[in-house]
C-alpha cells in the first residue's frame, strides 16, 4: 500500500487575502515530527515538505494516485499547504481520491470536506474541530512530540498493516486512549528532546499534553467511501421492529376495545 506524506514547512510569507494564515514554524516542526513517526511504518513513495505546494502536490497525485497522510491548516471546506494556498476544497475534489485512504491531520475538515471526499469514494479520517498541539521551536524527534495526533497516525498505520477501514478507526481511538493513559502514568520515564537541551517530562507537561490529546480524540471522525452518513443498520432494524410491535399491540388493543363495546 503506497502512501504520500504531505507535511509542509511553510517558509513563505502569506498574502493578507489568503484563506489561511502562515503556520508558526514551531507548529510545523512538531507536525513534521508526527510525519517522521508515521513514515517509519508506511511505505512512503513520496514525501512533500518544502515543496508541499498545491500545484506540485496535485500534479504528482494526478499522475501517481496514492493513499494520503497530509498535515496543514484546515477549515470546514478546505485544506491548505505551503504559501497558505488551498489544495483540497469541497468544490474541487480530484477524481483520483476514489478508492484511496485520505488521513488529514488538520483542523475541522471532518465537518464538510471529509464528507465530500467520502462521497467521491475516498476513505477519510480527520477532525471535526480545531486541533490542539503542544509545540516548541526547537523540538526534536521524541514520543512527546508525536503524541497529540497519534490516533490519526494510527489510522494510517493500521490500514497499512492490513486492518479494515472500520478496524483502523477503532484502533485510532484505542491508540489515543492508551497514549493518554501512558502519559498520565509514566510521564517521569520520558525525556522531551529540544535542540539545545533535554527536559524530563513532569506531571504538568503530561497534563497539558493529555488535555490536547483528549480534545483531538473527541474531534476524530471517520467517513467510509460512498458517503459520509454511515447508517447503523442494527439501530434501523431495531427501530422498525419496535414500531411494528407497537402497531400490532395497538391494533390488538383496538380490536379488544371494539369487542368490549359490542
Amino acid at each position: 500500500m503506497d502512501w504520500v506524506i504531505i507535511s509542509p514547512t511553510d517558509e513563505e510569507d502569506c498574502h493578507p487575502l489568503t484563506v489561511f494564515e502562515k503556520v508558526d514554524s514551531a507548529v510545523y516542526r512538531v507536525l513534521n515530527i508526527h510525519a517522521d513517526y508515521a513514515q517509519q511504518y508506511l511505505t512512503v513513495v513520496k514525501r512533500f515538505k518544502q515543496d508541499a505546494n498545491p500545484s506540485t502536490v496535485l500534479e504528482y497525485l494526478s499522475k501517481h494516485p496514492a493513499n494520503i497522510l497530509a498535515f496543514g491548516h484546515g477549515n470546514t471546506k478546505a485544506m491548505g499547504l505551503n504559501e497558505c494556498k488551498i489544495w483540497l476544497d469541497v468544490n474541487h475534489i480530484p477524481e483520483w481520491v476514489k478508492g484511496k485512504n485520505v488521513v488529514l491531520v488538520s483542523c475541522l475538515t471532518g465537518v464538510e470536506l471529509g464528507k465530500k471526499l467520502a462521497e467521491k469514494g475516498a476513505n477519510y479520517y480527520g477532525l471535526d474541530n480545531v486541533g490542539m498541539l503542544v509545540a516548541a521551536k526547537d523540538a526534536e524527534f521524541c514520543r512527546f512530540f508525536y503524541a497529540d495526533f497519534i490516533g490519526l497516525l494510527e489510522a494510517a498505520i493500521s490500514l497499512a498493516n492490513g486492518y479494515s477501514e472500520e478496524e483502523a478507526a477503532k484502533r485510532a481511538k484505542i491508540r489515543w486512549k492508551n497514549e493518554i493513559e501512558y502519559w498520565l502514568n509514566f510521564y517521569s520515564e520520558e525525556e522531551i528532546k529540544l535542540t539545545s537541551k533535554t527536559v524530563r517530562c513532569n506531571s504538568q507537561l503530561a497534563q497539558l499534553l493529555t488535555t490536547c490529546m483528549v480534545h483531538n480524540m473527541h474531534s476524530f471522525v471517520w467517513f467510509p467511501p460512498g458517503g459520509a452518513e454511515t447508517v447503523n443498520w442494527g439501530a434501523v432494524v431495531g427501530a422498525l421492529a419496535l414500531l411494528s410491535f407497537i402497531a400490532v399491540a395497538f391494533k390488538a388493543m383496538e380490536e379488544k376495545r371494539k369487542r368490549v363495546m359490542v
Partner: protein, 123 residues
C-alpha cells in the same frame, strides 16, 4: 469505608494525584487531600458517598473545576513550549490569559480539560 478511598486513590494515575479534582462545599480537593482525610478518619461521609457514586458536582462547579485544573498545570509549564489551538500558537501566558478571560480559545481548552476529568473520574 476507608479501604474504598485507599483503593480509589491508588487506582488514579500518578499525574492526577495532586490535581484539583473533587469539588465539595465550595472547595476543590485533590485526590491526595481526600486520601489523607480518609486515613485520618476526617473524611465527611457524604463526600465519601459522592466519590463512591461518582456524582461529584453541578455543571457550574465542573467549569470552575476545569479552569482551576488548567491554571494549576499551565503555571508550571517552561517557556520553551507553546500551545497551538487551530494552528495558532499561544505562549503559556497568553493561554492563561485566554482561560481567565473566558475567550473562545480559553473556553475550548477548559472544555477539553473537563472531558479529560470526566474520563478519569466518571469513567
Amino acid at each position: 469505608m476507608k479501604e474504598f478511598i485507599v483503593r480509589w486513590f491508588r487506582s488514579l494515575p500518578p499525574a492526577e494525584k495532586d490535581m484539583p479534582a473533587i469539588p465539595y462545599n465550595g472547595k476543590i480537593y485533590t485526590p491526595r487531600q481526600i486520601y489523607e482525610m480518609a486515613i485520618s478518619n476526617t473524611l465527611p461521609d457524604d463526600l465519601q458517598s459522592k466519590i463512591e457514586r461518582r456524582e461529584f458536582t453541578t455543571a457550574m462547579e465542573v467549569y470552575r473545576l476545569g479552569v482551576e485544573r488548567v491554571l494549576t498545570y499551565l503555571k508550571s509549564i517552561p517557556p520553551d513550549f507553546v500551545i497551538s489551538v487551530g494552528g495558532k500558537p499561544y505562549t503559556v501566558e497568553q493561554l492563561i490569559e485566554a482561560v481567565e478571560k473566558g475567550t473562545p480559545v480559553g473556553r475550548a481548552f477548559v472544555e477539553a480539560e473537563i472531558r479529560k476529568w470526566e474520563l478519569l473520574y466518571r469513567g
